[in-house]
């Protein structure tokens, strides 16, 4: 059960743009029909369109812009987004389960930050990998790395991801101190 981004932002943007165009066109045509001066100069536009040949530069630019926008929209639709929910293991074999990517990052960050000597922790969760950057006030960085790796691995085991993530742990001396 993997859940990916919903593409709500590009969808909302496109819907708003089309909606705006529809409102503007409808209002202008209704103005024209009711005998008012429409705020889109239809007469001048039509005259311009009758002079403009299909091989003229403005037509080529418009065609290129339309094709480029089309490619962008296709890319938004077809490229799979970052997963928002990562699948968990089989479990009982009937029920599907997943953990939110942001939530897993929070859990791992807390697991690392709770360790003795760790002053700050940043955790990034991707589909197949987890990378943690930690800062420690301990002088023995190697020991801190081992402890952090153990803690993170324990939490990952308890989470039981369907596809175990590769774990990378980097530990540095606390900010403002020289690493021993």
């Amino acid at each position: 059960m993997i859940t990916r981004a919903r593409r709500a932002a590009p969808a909302s943007l496109v819907a708003l743009v089309i909606l705006a165009v529809c409102v503007v066109v409808a209002v202008a045509v209704l103005q024209q029909l009711s005998g008012h001066q429409p705020f889109i100069p239809f007469g001048r536009l039509a005259g311009y369109g009758r002079r403009l040949r299909l091989s003229d530069t403005p037509v080529i630019v418009a065609g290129a812009v339309a094709a480029a926008l089309g490619l962008i929209l296709l890319a938004c639709a077809l490229i799979p987004g970052k997963p928002t929910v990562l699948p968990l293991g089989e479990g009982d074999g009937v029920t599907l389960a997943g953990v939110s990517r942001a939530g897993l990052a929070r859990a791992l960050r807390a697991a690392a930050a709770d360790l003795d000597g760790i002053t700050a922790a940043k955790v990034r969760v991707r589909h197949h990998s987890v990378s943690a950057r930690l800062w420690t006030e301990d002088n023995d960085i190697e020991a801190a790395r081992t402890a952090a790796r153990e803690a993170l691995e324990r939490r990952l085991t308890q989470t039981d991801l369907a596809r175990p993530a590769r774990l990378r742990v980097k530990v540095r001396g606390a900010k403002g101190r020289n690493a021993a």
């Binding site: 409102v23 299909l54 094709a67 929070r106």
Partner: protein
């Protein structure tokens, strides 16, 4: 799983469709302008000279603008609906004894309440969709950050879900559990 992540499929389909239309229109314009495609001679003007629009054209434009505008509003509104569609279930339909209708939101409330009482759980929400012959359950569980998810999941599938199936007289249940660990630690340490 589209039912659990609702506007995602619609967004992808509509974006791909609009992208294809724009790409086709743009490509056709470019190919015509450079003389590769000759369906319309490239010396033609964008609007044919000396042709007047028919009388009903403005009305058609307004009607089309209203229809597409409303469809866009509907698309926009769909972005806010992130939960599965729930419905009412008809449990027994023997006309002699009357009809029992159960809102699926009511049916799963005890499950959500039970799971949110489990240790390590902050809150839980449950949504039942599909019809009573083929029910689908989505259970969203906000947990403390140090909760053992595998153990919690086992507790839910061993105790809470069988109880729901028993209460609703379901033989099988297509259930999905989504865990969301939060930044807070457990209350008892």
């Amino acid at each position: 799983m589209s039912g659990h992540n609702r506007p995602a499929a619609a967004n992808r389909t509509l974006l791909a469709l609009l992208g294809l239309v724009l790409l086709a229109a743009g490509a056709f314009t470019l190919l015509t302008a450079y003389g590769v495609v000759h369906w319309i001679p490239k010396a033609h003007t964008v609007f044919p000279a000396g042709r007047q629009l028919t009388n009903w054209a403005p009305y058609a434009v307004v009607a089309a603008a209203v229809v597409f505008g409303l469809l866009c509003l509907r698309w926009l509104a769909a972005q806010g609906r992130k939960r599965p569609r729930t419905s009412s279930w008809q449990l027994a339909d023997d006309p002699d004894t009357g009809v029992t209708v159960l809102s699926s939101a009511t049916a799963v409330q005890p499950l959500a309440d039970e799971v949110s009482e489990y240790p390590g759980v902050h809150a839980a929400g449950a949504w039942l969709s599909g019809h009573s012959g083929e029910p689908r359950l989505l259970l969203r569980v906000r947990t403390e950050h140090d909760t053992n998810l595998a153990a919690l999941r086992q507790e839910i599938t061993d105790e809470a879900l069988p109880r729901l199936c028993q209460a609703l007289d379901l033989t099988e249940l297509d259930a999905t559990i989504q865990f969301e660990p939060t930044a807070t630690a457990s209350r008892i340490r």
